[in-house]
Amino acid sequence: MSASDEQLPGIWLGTSALVKRDLALVIKRPGDMLNPLFFFAMVATLFPLAVGPAAEQLQFSGPGVLWVAALLATLLSLNSLFLGDFEDGSLEQLLVSPVPLSALALGKSIAHWLTSGLPLVLVSPLVALTYQMSLAVTGVLMLTLLLGTISLSLLGSIGAALTVGLHRGTALLSLLILPLAMPVLIFGARTVSLVAAGDGVAGGLYFLAAYAMLMISISPFATAAALRISNE
């Protein structure tokens, strides 16, 4: 009996089952997915209301505003990533299951991205339209959001795992994640601005891809460690 022979199909089966379960849960409560999206759209609306509708200004600041809005919307959805599981005890069942916790943590991050990051990417062109962003710029915006939200889901999982069940967890989560998320924000937003100014985007996209790779390799383990600590 080889443990690893038994394990590998088990890891895949268990993790994909977790992703499917979380997706099924979101289907039952669509608000969990829609509320952050509405928040994203609201923040993007607040800006022209507050600063003025001058087209040039919007075009110029569009990438930054949309990126900040996306970041904040992601934070909103991260807050409840592990909370439900922690409260009903299903988190504990994940901790004692035969599937390695880091694989399950990755599964949670994937499910989070599918219900938070991906919808943001898909909705962004609609909002970009209102900011007078050209097709090319919108395309780059979607690409940066695609790569960036992957990193944010992974990075955010660590923060969510560290703060699950803590008093005032929401505010604390923001304080922990925002400084760490700055590279993603900087490269995400500024790359889009560069396109608008006519510069090349390869560098920025490479960075975002590389950062996502880094997060994929460290986030599952850090999240697993944090979950064990938080559940004690």
Binding site: R21, K28, D88, S97, P98, V99, N231
Partner: protein, 204 residues
């Protein structure tokens, strides 16, 4: 196939309080370990520490003479856990919950309906889990144990929220499981008397 679980020099602190120090136990196939004590005595913490949910201050738990910390995945494959929180998603049905767990543990759901029938849950199959009563929810947790092929059962207050009939059911299931060569560690604040080789640890 004989299996063995034992703990050596187990010590745990909760903040400043020492819950237990240099505790020893040994459990073989076909045996039951009862952790007894009032609420807050540390029996839940001991159970959780053996399960690996709490880090011990010092000491080692051995599974078939190998330290569990060296083969965590293998150990967790051999045990099934029942906490005082039942651990199912309220929005999913009982069936969806159990099917998810079956995939998590690479188990088959062949005997599914039989188990549900036995536990009196068959009629509740399609209801959302949160609409079940506390007693019914605990029975679903028992279903988890029955559907699992794991030899080691670890249960924290398995009879809580159950009526007299339910408590008898727990006793019967434990007797059957341990009688067939399985092992169980049960933390209970009420006395549980079973016709099985039983070790007891009483905590203050």
């Amino acid at each position: 196939m004989s299996i063995k679980l034992n703990g050596s020099r187990l010590t745990l602190f909760r903040g400043e309080r020492c819950l237990f120090r240099d505790l020893e136990f040994a459990l073989n196939s076909g045996e039951l370990l009862l952790l007894e004590g009032r609420n807050g005595s540390g029996k839940t913490s001991l159970l959780r520490a053996i399960a690996g949910l709490i880090e011990l201050e010092s000491g080692t738990v051995f599974w078939n003479d190998e330290p569990v910390r060296n083969m965590r995945q293998l150990f967790q494959n051999s045990m099934v856990w029942m906490s005082h929180k039942v651990g199912f998603k309220g929005d999913l049905t009982l069936v969806e919950n159990l099917q998810f767990e079956a995939k998590l543990r690479l188990e088959s759901t062949r005997d599914f309906d039989d188990v549900l029938q036995r536990l009196g849950l068959k009629k509740l199959k399609r209801l959302p889990f949160r609409s079940l009563s506390a007693g019914q929810q605990r029975r679903v947790a028992l279903a988890r144990m029955l559907l699992s092929a794991a030899p080691l059962w670890m249960m924290d207050e398995p009879a809580s929220n159950l009526d007299a009939q339910g408590r008898e059911l727990v006793a019967t299931l434990l007797s059957e499981h341990v009688g067939k060569g399985g092992m169980a560690i049960v933390a209970a604040h009420q006395d549980v008397k079973l016709d099985l080789p039983t070790h007891r640890i009483a905590l203050q």
